[in-house]
């Protein structure tokens, strides 16, 4: 029994429990101020978790394909399940990433009194998510994996449901419900697959299952198990077309929730595929792999196209997550060491980059009450480059890294995934060479799309260029219920202002040419005009009424850490690749090294 591994899980979960069980937590919630206990327990638990996660690296997980840390005690003999946890080269990067993001989100939450409700419950939920994710990334037993997989559901649901977008109560309620129903449904399908594997193989131990490489399971069982497992995990990743819960969840979640959702939760799906599908039912997986790869590529293109016209920054980043995770799915589907390495690399890179983008998007939304690109521009009074340089800087690094510029973290994972798909074995997968090469080519087109939509974001937000942005409060009209998409089709006709405070997503139409300068809109006038036009209740605050400062110190620190992490793996990709390589080779049962 490894004490480090026990501590790794016990610290965040224990911290969550302590925060929840202190009775004053519910009393102090109304106060809206982060109290001292939250700061101490939350920061203490997450910082110690990170320390423990870093300490596990002293065991040199890159040196061996086997586990360097292990816990193995009896748990549920009736199901043949043991509490078996391992840490190896595949888990290690994700464990460190999770612990790091866990600390960062607690820093974000405890340093700002952002929500109406107290932050104690929020911190407890975030710690619980962190603990559940760490358990998922170290589980080496099918039942333990499933339980850990489920642990994150309720806390994440609560984060979205109660600490989400304060302007859109029905929206965040629906987003939270959709999140938990989709993911709970996916989890049961996953459970069916796990049970099928367990009943066919007679063991729930993954180390043993990986050793067997599917021996003892018939082709039909392997196929059925692979299909069930992949469907279940695809909901979490998410793979197109099971991604529809993600954009609303991200839009409604608070910044900390979005960061954990993108940086940690999605990884649980792809990690599950790599450890619990590829080596456990290899024959079944190979037969499903072409479909998974194709769906991944469809996701890349679909989400890329959606991002081109998406106007809400948070939704845009969420859709870009779907695209990035499409690369991960493609890499896994290739079944090659390169593809899997790429998928693992892209996992970490996406976690860092998307977290960075969500810190920016969440911060802006909190300040201006909206994440609509044009509204942000109006609210900020011009391009971020001049007005809010800290946010602007983070946004630039996030976007550039996200579009896969070589030298930044986003590049290597996607490059390797595409390379892996190009190299995929046509015999094992039953799909012709041209099929895999077509997938790889289409994925490359996806990176072009990524460049297009991220540069669009930069053009709008960083430079502050908006077409026909002539805005005054004088010309307000009550708008019809036009969808943002339709409006976007002819942006030169009129600039419209979307108020997130209104439940029905109403739009304010501003006739062109009636105004002088977008930078000089008076917040008071804008607000009163909007109120009058929309009959908004007093507590719903439209754009510009909030504090309009740049990123706070804590946001800047968090952002800087993420910026550094977006750059370092890009410059020194071997750090990650060397860590995962032996374990990946072991999973795929291939002898030849890649590096």
């Amino acid at each position: 029994v490894s004490a480090l591994l026990v501590l790794l899980l016990a610290l965040p979960l224990g911290g969550a429990l302590v925060l929840l069980l202190r009775p004053e937590s519910w009393a102090s919630r109304a106060a809206g101020q982060p109290d001292a206990v939250v700061r101490q327990v939350g920061l203490g638990a997450s910082a110690l978790t990170l320390a423990v996660a870093l300490l596990t690296l002293t065991q040199r997980p890159w040196s061996t394909p086997d586990a360097v840390l292990e816990v193995d005690v009896p748990w549920i003999p009736g199901l043949g399940a043991r509490l078996h946890l391992v840490l190896d080269g595949i888990s290690a990067p994700l464990v460190v990433l999770t612990a790091l993001l866990g600390l960062l989100v607690v820093v974000l939450v405890t340093s700002t009194s952002s929500s109406r409700r107290g932050s104690r419950g929020l911190v407890a939920c975030l710690l619980a998510v962190e603990g559940g994710a760490l358990a998922t990334f170290t589980a080496a037993d099918l039942v333990v994996f499933f339980v850990a997989f489920e642990v994150v559901l309720v806390p994440m649901w609560a984060v979205i449901r109660w600490w989400g977008d304060p302007h859109d109560e029905p929206g965040r309620r629906e987003a939270a419900t959709r999140f938990i129903l989709f993911t709970a449904g996916g989890s049961v399908v996953l459970l069916l697959g796990l049970l099928l594997v367990a009943s066919a193989s007679g063991t729930t131990d993954v180390v043993e299952l990986v050793r067997r490489q599917g021996d003892g399971m018939s082709g039909t069982v392997q196929l059925a198990a692979a299909v069930l497992l992949l469907i279940g995990l695809s909901v979490k990743v998410p793979v197109w077309p099971l991604h529809t819960w993600l954009p609303p969840a991200h839009t409604a979640a608070p910044t900390a929730g979005s960061v954990l959702l993108a940086g940690v939760l999605l990884k649980m799906g792809s990690y599950g595929m790599i450890r619990f599908v590829v080596p456990v039912v290899p024959d079944g997986f190979a037969r499903v792999a072409p479909v998974l790869g194709a769906l991944g590529v469809v996701g890349i293109l679909w989400a890329g196209l959606a991002c081109l016209v998406e106007r809400d920054l948070k939704r845009l980043v969420a859709f870009s997550s779907v695209a990035h995770m499409g690369f991960v799915a493609l890499g896994i589907a290739s079944g090659t060491p390169q593809g899997l390495q790429g998928a693992l690399f892209a996992n970490v890179a996406h976690g860092v980059i998307t977290s960075l983008l969500f810190v920016v998007a969440g911060g802006l939304k909190q300040r201006f009450g909206t994440a609509d690109l044009r509204m942000l521009l109006t609210g900020a009074g011009g391009g971020l480059r001049d007005r809010l340089p800290r946010y602007g800087g983070m946004l630039v690094v996030g976007c550039i890294a996200g579009l896969g510029l070589p030298g930044l973290a986003g590049f290597w994972g996607e490059f390797l995934a595409v390379y892996g798909a190009w190299q995929a074995d046509p015999v094992a997968t039953g799909a012709p060479v041209w099929f895999w090469r077509a997938l790889a080519s289409l994925a490359v087109i996806g990176t072009v799309l990524a460049a297009a939509y991220l540069l669009r974001v930069l053009r709008l937000l960083w430079h502050g260029e908006v077409e026909g942005a002539a805005v005054t409060p004088a010309g307000y009209q009550r708008g019809g219920r036009t969808s943002p998409r339709q409006q976007d089709a002819h942006p030169h006709d009129e600039a419209e202002v979307r108020l997130d405070g209104s439940p029905d997503v109403e739009l304010l139409h501003l006739p062109p040419g009636t105004a002088s300068d977008a930078g000089h809109v008076s917040p008071t006038l804008l607000e009163s005009g909007a109120r009058a036009a929309l009959h908004l209740p007093r507590d719903v605050r439209p754009v510009s009424a909030r504090r309009r400062g740049d990123a706070t110190t804590s946001e800047t620190v968090v952002g800087l850490v993420l910026v550094v992490l977006s750059v370092v793996p890009g410059l020194l990709p071997w750090i990650l690749l060397a860590t995962t390589e032996p374990a990946v080779r072991h999973l795929l049962a291939v002898d030849r090294g890649f590096l």
């Binding site: 009736g78 499933f146 309720v154 449901r161 049961v188 069916l192 049970l195 009943s199």
Partner: protein, 546 residues
């Protein structure tokens, strides 16, 4: 020795084996004697103590029986091949029996605690149940369910099953108002009809096998007896299905739960369901394992329809008790689901064990939820008819209640931290997946999602903004001073409730009303403890027979 006595027609009874079932009945007899000696209006505390004691002692009597199975009420029957004779026993204290008896006694204890904690009804409410009759009926029904767990022939089974069923009708109707009578009548009609089916089924089975012993082989000398046997079994299943509220035998459930006092609804949801599953397991798994491939289909169909209907209707309920009623319907489907995995005789034992494992988790969570509903019904203006909005902000205003209910609902939904419920879902699905019954598993997947929606819809209210702050001003979780333990010896001791504080409560002291009585407090803590322990050590859910 035993065989010799049997030949001479003398029954030697292994009293220790029967003790857990006998002690509650004994307590009931003592209760009657006490009633005759001191009269109906005095000694309320003694009556409560006697009833509690009967259940606790019964529970303790289970403990020394672990280890080897003991049998009693044995007789010679014809063996499998002609001319051989084997000993068949009418009552067996096997691990299965003991697990079910423990479950029955513990649930009955919880329900009794919930009933004892009830306060005097407010003016205008229905009068309370007379104490002696209430305890008597509860003890007898519990004793019947305990006997049922050990029954190994159809005669014992039928009698024990009825002993477990009919007193509950009395318990429901004891409240003596319109709703109680209607609820009791519905239950009575269903029970009687079901008993007719059960007896008819037993008769057909007897006709086909020539023995009342469970597991007797069909007489192969005559043709078509196999069909008679099958029809008989189907009728027996139909006869016991009403107790589990399996669709289409569930129609009585919502009205009876809503019309009965909430502690009795809890009794129906737990003790009665345990009895129902016991009978089902006895008849199918022990009585006809060789026909497993046939009855597993039946079980699968019942499970699929039951869980789907239960969840869909539960999704629309506004009243807490009715939601729980439909939830118990849905959960009954889950309880029966593992039996669908018994596609061949050697899978039967595992499937039945899984059923009982799920039942264990279900009973623990349901009792905890009912405990909270009972307490809330005490102070809510609408009483037992209170809606889900009564739970708005409960986690803040009364943390203990909120935590217990929240945890119970998460267990029922099968979401961590309710690990117990999650493991129970794993346990229930495992035999079905092992049998590759994919249609059934996809229906189960749908129902997991529906169940999450059902229970979260309620759980979300625990943290929601408070609608009516005036009913929730009680400080967090305190056992307030005004809440006197149940039944101080008072002048009108024949009724359940702290009669001593009658006057002050009648004056409408809302603070007293919002307190938690000691029995309720104990029940809440026991319910929470059961859920937490099973969540921390889920091994028991996976192997409930030890």
């Amino acid at each position: 020795m035993a065989a010799a006595l049997v030949r001479e027609g003398v029954q030697s009874i292994a009293w220790t084996a029967v003790l857990p079932a006998l002690l509650p009945a004994l307590a009931a007899l003592l209760l009657l004697a006490l009633d005759a000696i001191v009269g109906p209006r005095r000694g309320g505390r003694w009556r409560d103590g006697l009833a509690l004691g009967g259940l606790v002692v019964g529970l303790l009597a289970v403990v020394p029986l672990g280890g080897q199975a003991r049998s009693t009420f044995c007789a010679d029957v014809a063996g499998a091949s002609a001319g051989t004779v084997t000993v068949a026993c009418g009552f067996v204290a096997s691990p299965l029996t003991l697990a079910l008896q423990t479950l029955v006694l513990a649930s009955a204890l919880m329900c009794l605690l919930l009933a004892l904690g009830q306060r005097r009804p407010r003016p205008g409410d229905a009068p309370d149940a007379p104490r002696t009759e209430h305890h008597l009926l509860l003890l007898v029904a519990t004793s019947g369910a305990c006997f049922l767990a050990g029954a190994r022939d159809y005669a014992t089974l039928a009698v024990a099953f009825e002993t477990a069923s009919l007193p509950v009708v009395g318990l429901v109707a004891l409240r003596r108002d319109g709703r109680g009578v209607e609820a009791g009548l519905k239950l009575l009609l269903t029970a009687v009809l079901s008993f007719a089916l059960l007896v008819l089924g037993v008769a057909l089975v007897y006709a086909s096998t020539g023995s009342l012993h469970l597991g007797a082989r069909v007489n192969t000398a005559l043709p078509d007896l196999g069909l008679v046997h099958g029809v008989g079994l189907a009728l027996v299943v139909a006869g016991v299905a009403f107790k589990l509220s399996l669709v289409p035998f569930h129609a009585w459930t919502p009205d009876t739960y809503a019309g009965a006092p909430v502690p009795i609804a809890a009794f129906l949801a737990t003790v009665s369901k345990v009895a129902g599953l016991t009978a089902l397991v006895l008849v199918l798994a022990i009585g006809a394992p060789q026909l497993a491939s046939s009855w597993s289909l039946l079980a699968g169909a019942l499970a699929a329809v039951t869980m789907t209907v239960g969840n869909l209707v539960a999704l629309r309920q506004r009243s807490a008790v009715r939601l729980l009623a439909w939830s118990t319907v849905a959960q009954a489907g889950w309880v029966v689901l593992p039996l669908a995995g018994a596609v061949s005789p050697h899978r039967v034992a595992a499937a039945a064990t899984a059923s009982i494992g799920y039942l264990l988790a279900y009973v623990a969570a349901t009792l905890a939820a009912f405990a909270v509903v009972v307490v809330v019904a005490q102070w809510h203006p609408l009483g037992e008819r209170h809606g889900l909005d009564a739970y708005d902000g409960l986690l803040r205003s009364r943390m203990v209640l909120g935590v217990v209910l929240g945890f119970a609902l998460l267990c029922l939904a099968g979401l961590p931290p309710g690990v117990m419920g999650l493991v129970a879902k794993v346990v229930a699905l495992r035999p079905v997946v092992g049998a590759h019954a994919w249609l059934l598993t996809s229906i189960a997947v749908l129902n997991v999602v529906l169940g999450v929606a059902v229970y979260l819809r309620w759980a979300v209210r625990l943290v929601a903004a408070t609608g009516e702050p005036d009913t929730l001003r009680e400080p967090v979780g305190a056992l307030t001073a005004g809440s006197v333990p149940a039944a101080p010896a008072g002048t009108s001791g024949a009724a359940i409730g702290p009669t001593g504080t009658l006057g002050s409560e009648r004056d409408g002291e809302a603070d007293v009303r919002t307190g938690i009585t000691v029995p309720h407090g104990v029940a809440l803590l026991l319910g929470l403890a059961a859920c937490v322990v099973l969540s921390v050590l889920p091994a028991l859910v996976a192997s409930p027979l030890g």
